[in-house]
């Protein structure tokens, strides 16, 4: 009896302490999720006082729309273009700066610098680089005697151009995770390996990579979900042009909701995005769990 009372009391204190963050979580995460789920099944356009239930119509509309599939395709392609390169580059940078050298702090800071800048600012800067004809890239190409590329104009080049910018920004962010992972690997391992005659690439392959397993899993989840959640640079740089070649899922949601005022479609799309994220996270935890060495 007494014991139970005490546990209630402890629980109460715990709840009270958790309440502020719970309140925010409920208001800004849980409630919007359920609200989106509900609105996805309704018609709710500009000026309608109340949403009107229409079942799966929004989803049926989307799944039969060529534009929706184009957007999904763009999102997948963009993820492929950014996730692996930014992880490889991030890991390379981490290995590079994971040494005791003079001025390493400066190097680390400069690699991390693009992460600190907001995407909006970065997109504005890169727009000048990519600007047709008078931009830095086109000027450079012309000095080499090549034709200006006007990369944001063409469906073949717009995604690689944006991916390049994004890898540049994201690699430093991923580097930090890799760096902390690297610093958790005991130096004794490398010493032992050196005695056995394994150095350089072999040591990296046999020691570093396997022991970075948990970090790799974490980083790949972060990188993949981040790449799906991108929107800012599209608003600044192309608005999805040319002919939606650079329209990604989140930008499409933004358009539906805030340019065309179709809250219901935007909600249905949000639910689809949420489902994708969930699947990514689940797949990665289930699939990769067994192969990882925790030390």
């Amino acid at each position: 009896m007494k014991k139970m009372k005490r546990s209630v009391k402890t629980n109460l204190t715990a709840w009270a302490l958790l309440a502020p963050s719970l309140l925010f979580l409920l208001t800004f995460t849980v409630f919007p999720i359920f609200r989106s789920l509900y609105l996805g099944f309704t018609r709710y356009q500009l000026g309608m006082p109340q949403p009107e239930f229409i079942g799966l119509e929004n989803y049926a509309d989307l799944f039969t729309s060529a534009l929706f599939w184009k957007v999904m395709g763009n999102t997948v392609v963009f993820s492929l273009m950014t996730v692996i390169p930014s992880m490889v580059l991030g890991l390379a940078l981490a290995v590079l700066v994971n040494r005791k050298l003079k001025g390493i702090g400066f190097l680390r800071t400069s690699f991390f610098y693009p992460v600190v800048m907001p995407m909006i600012a970065i997109a504005s800067i890169w727009m000048f680089i990519y600007m047709a004809d008078t931009g830095m890239l086109d000027q450079f190409l012309q000095t080499l005697g090549l034709k200006p590329a006007n990369v944001l104009s063409y469906k073949e080049t717009v995604k690689p151009a944006m991916a390049f910018m994004y890898v540049w920004k994201e690699a430093g962010y991923l580097m930090i995770f890799f760096l902390s992972g690297l610093q958790n690997i005991s130096t004794e391992m490398y010493e032992a390996a050196r005695i056995d005659g394994a150095t350089g690439w072999t040591a990296f392959k046999k020691i570093t990579l396997p022991l970075l397993g948990p970090t790799l899993l974490f980083v790949s989840t972060i990188a993949l979900t981040n790449s799906v959640k991108l929107v800012d640079h599209i608003v600044i740089m192309t608005e999805g042009a040319p002919n939606n070649a650079s329209t990604m899922l989140l930008f499409y949601i933004y358009q539906q909701g805030f340019a065309w005022f179709d809250q219901a479609k935007a909600s249905a799309l949000t639910v689809i995005m949420l489902a994708i994220m969930l699947v990514i996270a689940m797949l990665q935890f289930v699939k990769t769990d067994r192969k990882i060495h925790y030390n």
């Binding site: 000026g47 805030f258 340019a259």
Partner: protein
């Protein structure tokens, strides 16, 4: 994370708007003084909020019983979002400025009221007031024969050209091209290639990014269409894209890029075009009159403005924002809002607005004021916009106008980037537009 931040910002806006509105309501009851809330977007450079504040201050000085709270609401899209949020919170702004092209949405969703009763109540004065607005601007105030908005911050497209470049290639700097054929001819002469074949200067420039291509295209479609027909039916329920004339107009753009090679291939951004013009890398550009101040300040060469070259006829698109009065507020407040709108659109005020912002004053009598005459004497290039208005017609306006813009933009771009032919692009645009508009038929 980002979505959360956006959600928080939205809620913050909502709370701000709600408290603003609530505060307004209370004060009305306490002091007997009417307090009106007025949402307005800013779409061009310059100290526009200051100018709006000035109009409000002048109004309040003459009408001590009314306080007007101008609320800056971002761009046109943001403004609609904020009005809608405010309506859902049962606290609509009393009046607002929004795109003329949003009027079908504003009317069909019951966000704005028709103004005919106010105009009728003003009698002969009301009739004269409406008739003084230039038809190129007033035309897109009507929904089903009723007037839903009053033109205010309106613009049109003109051609800016580099007179020095004209002289350099032996063209008369006072005779800009007047037809499509002349345009090609002039642009060919003005295009300059260096020894390795790279283009150092293009003859002509047009912005083809999303949100701009449809505006420029309206002009070319008007210049080429049968009887000057626009891209939509008057009731806003039908888009007219797939006509042989429109296909020709789009093909002309493609030819400027690919056949005559006098316009930069691909998509040039709206905001980059004036910079290219000022840098001398394009000799003639199609752009808004709103850029006149920028260009006259920054050009290190002599420049001129001209009508858009015609084909079967002259034509140019108009665009910009109008005043609307909200539904769902008391008749007394609507009346007060109407009073303010009339105050803000007197000929002198619109002339001053024109001079300060680069927007074109939408009333004929504004151009007879001394203010405007002095301005034209100082800046003769400003006159072209007014002279051209009689050939101008509203930009693409239908129900769900912003979705319709997107459809036209996307398909124009598909032709420009070579994914589709001009004919295919117009056919696709028509099919997609019909699909969206079928529910209004």
């Amino acid at each position: 994370m980002k979505t959360k931040v956006i959600a928080m910002l939205l809620i913050l806006c909502l709370v701000t708007v709600a408290t603003l509105g609530a505060a307004g309501g209370q004060e009305t009851q306490e002091s007997g003084k009417m307090e009106l809330t007025f949402f307005y977007p800013v779409m061009v450079g310059g100290p526009l909020t200051k100018l709006i504040d000035q109009i409000v201050a002048d109004y309040e000085a003459e009408n001590p019983n009314v306080t007007v709270n101008p609320v800056y609401t971002g761009n046109y899209d943001d403004t609609v979002v904020k009005i809608q949020t405010a309506i859902q919170g049962k606290n609509p702004p009393d009046f607002f400025i929004n795109l003329a092209t949003q009027r079908f949405s504003m009317a069909s969703t019951g966000m704005a009221i028709p103004l005919d009763d106010f105009i009728a109540a003003d009698g002969a004065e009301g009739k004269a007031y409406i008739e003084d607005f230039l038809p190129g601007f007033m035309e897109d105030s009507y929904v089903d024969g009723k007037i839903y908005s009053i033109p205010f911050q309106r613009s049109t497209m003109v051609m800016f050209y580099n007179k020095d470049a004209f002289k350099e290639v032996g063209l008369d700097p006072n005779k800009p091209p007047t037809t499509w054929a002349e345009l090609v001819d002039y642009a060919t002469k003005l295009t300059k290639r260096d020894s390795s074949g790279n283009v150092a200067r293009y003859g002509v420039g047009l912005a083809l990014n999303s949100g701009s291509a449809q505006w420029g295209f309206t002009g070319f479609a008007l210049q080429n269409s049968v009887g000057g027909k626009n891209l939509m039916s008057e009731d806003g329920k039908k888009a007219i894209f797939d006509t042989p004339e429109n296909v020709e107009a789009l093909q002309f753009w493609l030819d400027l890029q690919n056949k005559y090679k006098v316009m930069q291939p691909g998509i040039v951004q709206w905001t980059d075009l004036p910079a290219q013009f000022l840098a001398g890398s394009v000799a003639m550009i199609y752009h808004t009159t709103g850029n006149l101040t920028n260009i006259s300040k920054n050009a290190n060469f002599e420049f001129g403005t001209a009508f858009l070259p015609g084909n079967k006829r002259l034509g140019a698109p108009t665009g910009g924002g109008n005043f609307y009065i909200s539904a769902g507020i008391s008749a007394e407040r609507q009346k007060a809002a109407w009073d303010f709108i009339k105050f803000a659109t007197t000929p002198e005020r619109l002339a001053q607005w024109n001079i300060d912002t680069g927007y074109v004053a939408p009333r004929a009598s504004s151009f007879e004021t001394d203010l405007m005459k002095d301005y034209w004497a100082r800046m003769p290039q400003a006159r072209v916009a007014f002279d051209q208005i009689k050939y101008a017609k509203p930009e693409l306006t239908t129900y769900e106008a912003s979705r319709m813009w997107r459809i036209l933009n996307d398909n124009i771009q598909s032709a420009v980037t070579g994914e589709a032919t001009a004919a295919e692009a117009m056919r696709n645009a028509q099919a997609q537009a019909d699909d969206v508009l079928k529910k209004y038929q």
